[in-house]
Amino acid sequence: MARYLARRVAQGVFVLWAAFTASFVILYLLPSDPVEIMLASTGSMGELDPAAVAALRAEYHLDDPFYVQYGIALGRFARGDFGTSIPQRVPVTQLIGEAFPETLRLAAAAFALALLLGGGTALLAGLLRGGWARRLLLSLPPLLVSVPSFWAGLILLQIFSFRLGWFPAIGNQGAGSVVLPAVTLALPTAAVIAQVLAKSLLSTWREPFVVTARAKGGSRPGILFRDVLRHASLPGFTLVGMTVGNLLAGAIVVETVFSRLGVGRLVEEAVSAQDIPMIQGLVVLSALVFVVVNLAVDLVYPLLDPRIRPSRAVRA
C-alpha cells in the first residue's frame, strides 16, 4: 500500500511537471511580447521607453536563451513560486490563494447539488418500471447538457434575483450568494451523473444476481437500494474525476456571469490580459486538482468494489 501510494505520488509530480513544461513551451512560442503587453496595461501607451523595456526584459529574463529561461522558471516552480501577475503586480500564489477557497466552496456546493439532482433523477427512473413518466425523466438529462450555462445563469438571475429578489445577483457575500451560481454550475454535471447512473442502473437490473434477489422475495425498491445501487454506482464513481474538470471549466463562465471572485474569474482575466505567470500558475493548479481528485478516487474505489481489493481467496 505504501509503495503504491509512493508510486502514485511520483506519478502526480510527473503530471505537474509535464503540465508546467507544456504550458511554458506553448507560452514561449506565442508571438506576443509580454513586456509590451505589460507596459500597455500599466498605461504607458504610445512611446515605449527603451530603458524601461530593457529593464523589464532583464527582470523577466526574456533575453536569455530558452533553456536558461526554462531553468529559472522550473527552479521557481519547484519552490512554489510562480512570479508576479503582470497587470496586478501581486504574487500569483497570493491571488490564487485568495480565489481558490471561493471556487472550492462554489464547486463543493455544485457537486453536492449535482449528486443529489442527478442521483435522484436516476433513482426515480430506476424505480419506475417504464411508461411515459420514466421516458420524460430520462429525456431531461440530454436537454440539460445542451443548455449553455451562461444562458441558464442569466435566466436564473432574471427570475430569482431581479424578479423575486431571493438571492443576491453578484458577489461573494453570504451563503445566499452561492445558491444561484451553484445551481447553474450543477445542472450540466447533474445531467451527466443522471445519464451515467440511469444507464448503469438499467444494465444492473439485467444482472443474474437480481433474479436471485427477486427469488428471495425482494420488492423493487428493496432490490434497488440493497443490491442494484451499489453495483451500479461503480461506473459513476470513476466519472467523479472527470466531473471535477467540468466544474472547473464551468466555473470560468459562472463566476464571470455572477461576477464572483474565484479561480474561474482569474482564468478569464489572465487569458484576456495575456498574464503569462498567472496562466501558468492556473494551469499547474488545475493539474494539481486533477491529480489529487483522481488519486482520491483510486484510493476510495477498492472500498466500494471488494473485487479489486487484495484477495483473500479460500480454496474449496
Binding site: P208, T212, A215, G217, R307, V314
Partner: protein, 525 residues
Amino acid sequence: MTLLKISDLRISYGTTEAVRGIGLEVAAGEVVALVGESGSGKSTTAHAVTGLLPSAARVTGGTIEFAGQDVTHWPERAWRHLRGADLGFVPQDPAVALNPVRRVGAQVADVLLLHRRATRRTVKERVAAILEQAGLPGQAGRYPHELSGGMRQRVLIGIALACAPKLVVADEPTSALDVTVQRRILDHLATLTAAEGTAVLLITHDLGVAADRADRIVVMRDGEIVETGPSRDVLARPAQPYTVRLLEAVPSLSAPARTAAPGAPPLLELRGVRKEFRHPGGTTVAVRDVDLVVPKGRTVGLVGESGSGKSTTARIALRLAAPTSGRVVFDGTDVTESSRRALRPLRRRFQPVYQNPFSSLDPRLTIGAIIDEPLQAFREGDRAARRRRAAELLDKVALPAATIDRRATELSGGQRQRVAIARALALHPDLIVLDEPVSALDVSVQDQILRLLVRLQDELGLSYLFISHDLAVVRQISHEVTILREGAVVEAGPVADVFDSPQHPYTKELLMAVPGQTVRSGTDR
C-alpha cells in the same frame, strides 16, 4: 398431496410458443426432474413456476397451482410473499448469481429479514448457522469472488432453503460446475431437502443427473412433455424413441474403450514441464513437472478440475505460453525456446478448439470469414480457392452448405462448436488441442460432437489432446488418459487400465462422481 400442479400451460415469447400445453405435478416432498435439451422450454417452465418469467414472455393459457392457490397471473406483489418463503430458487450459474459487491452473509440475511424469520438482532446468528450447514463456517464476511463456484452454489442453496420452503426449483444448479463438485452439491441439496421434506423440481439437460437424483422424471422436447414416469421405469423401459436417444447420449463408463495398437511415434511431448506465476503475494505453481506424450493419430485425455493446471498445460502445448522449466517437443523439434517467427510455420500443424463456442467465434463475421481467417493468415490460395476450402470444411463437420454466409449468432451451441472445429481443421493440422470442447453443450449435442471428432480422427489421422473435467466424456474419445491434480500428474495410462483399475484415490473419487451410474445399472438389467 399435490404441491405444484401445472395444467395445460402455454407460454409465448412474441409469436413463438416456448411451452405448449404441458401438465406436471409435484407432490409434497417429492423430487421431480424436468429433463430436456436447450430450447425444450424447461427453463421457461422453471421461471413460470417461480414467477420470474422475463417481461418478453407471456402465459397464454393454462394454470399453475401452488399449494392449492392459482398463481398463474399473480401480480409481482403477491409473488413476493411466496418467493423465498414457501418457494426457493437455485439459479444456474453461481459465478454470476450472487451480488459481487456484497458480503455473502448479508445476502443470506436478506431472505430471513424479508420474511421476518429473524430480527436485526438475531439474524447474524441464523446466517452463521445456515452457512455452517452449507459447509462454510465463519465465511459470512466473505465476498463472492473469494469463494469457489461450488462454495457459491452452497451459499445460494442456503439462501433458497433458509426459510424452509415447501418447494425448491433448481434450474441446472450444477451445469457450470466440475463433476466432483457437482456430485457434492447435489448430495448436499438432497440431504437438506430430505431432512426438511422439501419438494424439489430439478431442471437439467443431463439424464444421468436426473436418474441419480429424482423420484420421477419428466422429459420435455420442443415445449411439450414427451414422457413422464417414475425414474426407475423411464430408465428401464423408456417408451419414447427420444428418451432412448437421450439415454444413449449419456456418456457411459461401461462402453468399450477405444483401443489402438501400441508403438505409434510421439507427435507432441511435454517433458518435465513446470509453470510458475509470480505475483505480489509470492509464486503460484500452476503446473508441476508434467510429462505428457501425444502419439500420432491418438487421443490423449487430460483430466482435472478447475485449477488443476490443465488449461495452462494446454496453452504450453500450443506454445501460447512458455514453460518456466521443462521441454516442449513437437514432431522431433524442440520448440521450448523457439521464437514467434520460428514457431509460425509449425503453428499450422497444431490448432486449438476452445470451450465456449459463444465467445470463441467473432459474432460480426460470417461463418465463411471465420473459417477463412487461418487460410488468409497463411496465404492459402486465392479467394475462390479459400471459399471452396471453407465449403469443404463445413461439409466435413456436417453443417449445411448454406451455413457459410450465416453469422455465429444465428447458430446453436453445437453448430458453433462444429464451426470452431472446421476452423481448426482449415490448415490440415496434425494435432488439435481441445480445451473442454463439449462442457458448454447439452449431453445429446455433446455426444454428436464427440462422434464427429472420432470420425474426423479416423478419416484424417489427427492427434488430439483432449482436455476435460468429465471422465465419462474422456473415456468415450481417448486412447490414453492423464489425470492432473493441483498441477501434478497423479495417474496416467491407457484408458482401459485407468478406468477399470484406478490406482490413485483421486482417480477413484473422479470415477465415483460421474453422474448417471444408475442409468447404466438400469439399462444393464
